[in-house]
């Protein structure tokens, strides 16, 4: 039983491959209805399936395949001519077969289905129509027989530049051999029959030495023989033994396991290499180097085993294009370029659905109807081109149609209408941004919903799926000339070269694929070449402006490792070092990410390291504290708890055994872009305000309003206020000439504003049991300003009349329709004896002593 299960499995795997080829061949055949080679190839495939399922007892499947075969036989013998109706019927048959195979795979039987209609259609089409009747000739029929061996080879040889594909074909064929062997074991009685036949055929066709394709066919006939002895299309089968020994079928899960192990090995190697760097032991160093070489080769080898040409996904597109084109009443030709481009198997699987969707979309929406095309002076037959090529450690896939292009206005309109974007936002979009709106969920611009596409799901799913595997999707369109969807897919997901950088004492890995260059700036250059435009830092890189993103700020990790230390985390050597460094640099601790990105740069910074990155066609510079080495890192997924963080692509384990996060450059760019956008908006608003009243807009500010004991209204800039506190009058202490209060474990000097500004005595505040204190934070110290009452916090535009300025007061302004004096705290403090900036520390020191 186990044996027959195995046979079924083999049968399924192989039939699926055959069916994919069938789709392609049938579409090809429709274009060249007289191509006997293709016809023969199709016939053989169906014949094989029929034979094997007869042998395995799948009767329904056999029945369907049988009718199909009959039709094909008549076509092949020239009794019938292939027309679209017959092609469709044959394709429907292929679908039925595929469905049943799927059912066998999942449930073990062919499933409950009624194929009567299909069978009837196929049988009906067996009747020759008048036009085709005369074409038959016995000579053509014999020609068909002798050609049986050739098509596979011929096809492969016709494209000598596409070695990979040829290789794949061979493998496929060789795998079939194996199956054949199994079958031979089961049905030894069949073997002599094949051999006899092989000999016979060889007599006919002595040049037939090209084993793979045809011997596979023989194999299938072996199975079929028992059921249908009169079948006689078996070419030579002599060389199958030799070929079959060169390849074996390996389960993908085993390869996955190997890949994981190699990943672990790479990690262990990295660790050992780190040790060898610090050792004098030559033998260890040499061993380490050998290990390095071997691990690298092993890694490459294992990766290769998982590589598949992208053509294996594309092979079904001619069929897809044909079906969709017929359904839409269009004429579309598909062209493919770079089928041999290889990708990791998991990635091949992952791009299957998104690509299918894009292809269908291109035919359904992209390419116009023939008459429209003709009217526009284009070839009535549309062209859909698929292109794949390697570039910078990535595979680029382009789906190019020569259709009408996207109606950008309508897309923007739709997006606004559906509330996906704001109207003013829509107006500002560049063409490219507008085109990329179609990746937004819930946006479909199809006039009518066809059964092909246009339900508003799909393009967003395409993008999500592509991004899930670390790829990007981009769409470009030119009106009248067509649309190009460009996918960038990483070659593999498991092990990638990455640059290690440090920010705020933490290491991060940046995949090399998105890395363009590194720029190191000295202190002077930093001052000169980093400029701030409305808070956004830019760097002039060879004459072009490069927006800068500070990694610390983007990740809000500016406070370096204080928390880690308190949690008792012993920072590792390298991290510790860089942490020390970053502290020396004395980078200000930003409180909000938004006010850091630009402002921290350029002014306070010393030397700056810029990692120039490419995300989605946009360049930006990532400012990091330190740039270390490049390393091969093993990408490990983040737990599901962290999946929502699009800034990180995963994590990896470094040579020292610690975990480092892998930056997702695209995610990071988007994350940083959000900040940019909000800033843009602020800028826009500000400039709009400026148009209304330039002066006012500039003078608009937030102030804290309060009242002094004498009833005077005063205001203080809100940004200078750290907190508002209340203290019991009794908790105020005298230290020298100054009043102080203990505040957060420190001694905070107090200033009575009514006294210092208006020369009044202390009596006013003395009777209040609670003292209201505005804690002013400036010049790195806290000073408490004693006021009578807090009134309000307002955000108003006002003009300060400097005529009324006096020591401690900038001037007066009308705020909330009342005259209010604006306090100049630094000026005020400078005027108070013992409060001047310079004397503060000794004063504090003395007062501490007195207080104790």
């Amino acid at each position: 039983m186990a044996d027959s299960d195995d046979i079924v499995k083999e049968f399924l795997a192989e039939s699926q491959e055959n069916l994919d080829r069938l789709d392609r061949d049938l579409v090809e055949l429709e274009k060249h209805p007289s191509d006997r080679e293709i016809l023969a190839s199709i016939f053989r495939t169906i014949h094989t399936i029929k034979g094997t399922c007869g042998f395995l007892g799948f009767n329904k499947l056999e029945a369907v395949a049988h009718v199909g075969e009959n039709l094909l036989a008549r076509l092949r013998d020239g009794h019938l001519i292939l027309n679209p109706v017959r092609t469709s019927a044959l394709l429907a048959m292929v679908d039925a077969v595929r469905e049943m195979l799927g059912s066998i795979e999942s449930t073990g039987n062919e499933g409950e289905r009624d194929d009567q209609k299909l069978l009837a259609t196929l049988t009906e089409l067996l009747e020759p129509d008048a036009a085709s009747a005369g074409a038959a000739s016995s000579g053509a029929a014999t020609g068909g027989v002798s050609d049986v061996a050739l098509p596979q080879e011929a096809k492969a040889e016709a494209k000598p530049e596409k070695k990979e594909e040829t290789g794949k074909e061979e493998i496929k064929e060789e795998l079939k051999e194996e199956k054949e062997e199994t079958q031979e074991k089961i049905a030894p009685a069949v073997v002599p029959a094949i051999e006899a036949q092989a000999a016979e055929v060889e007599a006919e066709k002595p040049e037939a030495q090209n084993a793979a394709a045809s011997s596979a066919a023989t194999a299938e006939h072996a199975g079929e023989k028992s059921a249908e002895p009169e079948s006689n299309r078996a070419p030579e089968g002599q060389h199958k033994q030799e070929v079959s020994q060169n390849t074996i079928r390996v389960s993908v899960s085993l390869l996955d396991q190997l890949m994981n192990l190699v990943g672990e090995l790479v990690l262990a190697r990295n660790q050992i290499l780190q040790f060898t760097r610090n050792t004098e032991e030559t033998s260890l160093v040499t061993t380490g180097q050998r290990l390095n070489l071997i691990a690298t080769e092993l890694q490459e080898g294992v990766m290769k085993t998982r590589m598949q040409p992208i053509g294996s996904v594309w092979s079904r597109f001619p069929r897809t294009v044909r079906d969709v084109a017929i359904a839409c009443g269009k004429r579309v030709r598909i062209e493919m370029e770079g089928q041999e481009t290889e990708l990791d198997k998991t990635l091949i699987e992952a791009i299957k659905d998104p690509m299918t969707h894009l292809v269908r979309n291109a035919v359904d929406h992209g390419i116009e109807r023939s008459e429209v095309r003709a009217a526009a002076g284009k070839d009535p037959e549309g062209v859909l081109r698929l292109r794949a090529y390697h570039e910078g450690g990535q595979v680029n896939i382009e789906i190019i149609d020569d259709g009408a292009g996207l109606d950008l206005k309508r897309i923007v309109h739709k997006a606004v209408q559906k509330g996906l974007i704001q109207a003013d936002e829509g107006a500002r979009l560049s063409d490219r941004e507008a085109a990329n709106l179609i990746f937004l969920p819930g946006l479909s611009t199809a006039e009518k919903i066809t059964n092909v596409s246009g339900r508003g799901v799909g393009m967003d799913v395409v993008k999500t799926n592509i991004e899930r595997i670390g790829g990007t999707a981009d769409i470009q369109s030119s009106p009248g000339a067509g649309t190009t969807v460009k996918l960038k897919i990483p070659l593999t997901l498991a092990i990638v070269p990455a640059l290690i950088v440090t920010a705020a004492g933490q290491r991060f890995a940046i995949p090399q694929a998105s890395l363009l260059e590194l720029v190191g700036l000295g202190v002077e250059e930093t001052q000169q070449r980093i400029e701030i435009i409305q808070g956004a830092a830019v760097y002039r890189l060879r004459g072009n402006l490069l927006p800068l993103v500070e990694l610390r700020a983007a990740l809000r990790i500016a406070a370096p490792a204080v928390e880690e230390k308190s949690a008792g985390n012993n920072e590792g050597k390298s991290a510790g070092k860089s942490e020390g460094k970053s502290e020396e640099k004395n980078v200000p601790v930003p409180t909000h990410a938004s006010d850091v990105t630009g402002s921290g740069l350029g002014e306070q910074r010393g030397a700056v390291n810029i990692v120039v990155l490419q995300a989605d066609g946009n360049k930006f510079g990532l400012v990091v504290d330190e740039i270390s080495d490049t390393e091969e890192i093993v990408v490990k997924p983040l737990g599901k708890h962290l999946k929502n963080l699009n800034v990180f692509a995963g994590a990896t384990i470094m040579g020292d055994g610690k975990v480092a996060l892998i930056l997702d450059v695209l995610g990071l760019a988007q994350h940083a872009h959000v900040i940019d956008e909000s800033r843009d908006r602020e800028t826009a608003e500000a400039s709009a305000g400026a148009a209304r009243d330039a002066l006012q807009a500039q003078q608009r500010r937030s102030v804290l309003l309060f009242r002094l004991a004498d009833g005077a209204r005063m205001a203080i800039n809100l940004s200078a206020v750290a907190r508002l506190e209340e203290f019991q009058a009794g908790s105020l202490e005298k230290a020298g000439r100054l009043e102080t209060v203990q505040y957060r474990g420190q001694i905070m000097p107090l200033v009575r504003l009514s006294q210092s500004l208006n020369g009044q005595g202390m009596a006013a505040g003395g009777d209040a049991s609670l003292q209201v204190i505005v804690v002013y934070a400036g010049d790195g110290r806290n000073v408490g300003l004693v006021v009578e009452r807090i009134l309000d916090i307002v955000d108003e535009s006002f003009q300060i009349d400097h005529q009324t300025s006096r020591p401690g007061v900038i001037g007066s302004a009308v705020i909330q329709q009342r005259i209010t004096e604006v306090v100049d705290v630094p000026g005020l403090l400078a005027a108070i004896p013992g409060m001047e900036r310079k004397t503060i520390p000794p004063t504090l020191g003395r007062s501490a002593a007195v207080g104790a």
């Binding site: 990740l555 997924p637 599901k640 962290l642 384990i653």
Partner: protein, 155 residues
């Protein structure tokens, strides 16, 4: 003597409070591991640890439950539990024994518990000397993910 159904618990302390999780959900208990902080995540997620080549998210239970942070220098222990989304490490103060507890000593969490804690506790086992709170791992992890722990902690 036929005993009522019992279940084994891996127990641990957070401050003075005694907690437990069913032993069959625990993968292992390990001493303090160095952690890599993850920026931009809720505070309850302490970071990532390297568990023999596997990267595991560490969640600080104190923060999940709205308890004050550990004092500086106090190293937490890792209770690595299995969840449907893979292994997660729960950071706790101290590890207790494995206890076999009878179901009939179980009670729903008292209404008066702080909200953050009540949401993440399945119930209370009444032991002779003290009470053992059974942690709801799914809730604790969920709260850490969404940052709810921190929110609840404030209320």
């Amino acid at each position: 003597m036929p005993m009522p159904t019992t279940q084994q618990f891996c127990t641990f302390f957070l401050g003075k409070q005694f907690f437990g999780v069913p032993v069959d959900q625990v993968q292992e208990v390990i001493r303090y591991q160095e952690m890599t902080r993850v920026p931009l995540v809720p505070k309850a997620i302490s970071g990532l640890i390297n568990l023999r080549g596997q990267i595991v998210t560490a969640i600080d239970l104190r923060r999940c439950l709205g308890m004050p942070d550990r004092k500086p220098g106090e190293l937490p222990m890792n209770v690595v539990v299995r969840t449907s989304d893979g292994a997660v490490s729960l950071l706790v103060d101290e590890i207790g024994d494995v206890l076999e507890l009878a179901q009939d000593t179980f009670e729903k969490p008292p209404e008066t518990l702080p909200a953050a804690m009540r949401a993440t506790i399945r119930g209370v086992y009444k032991l002779p000397e003290h009470l053992l709170l059974e942690l709801d791992i799914v809730h604790a992890v969920g709260a850490a993910e969404t940052g709810n722990g921190a929110v609840l902690a404030r209320t």
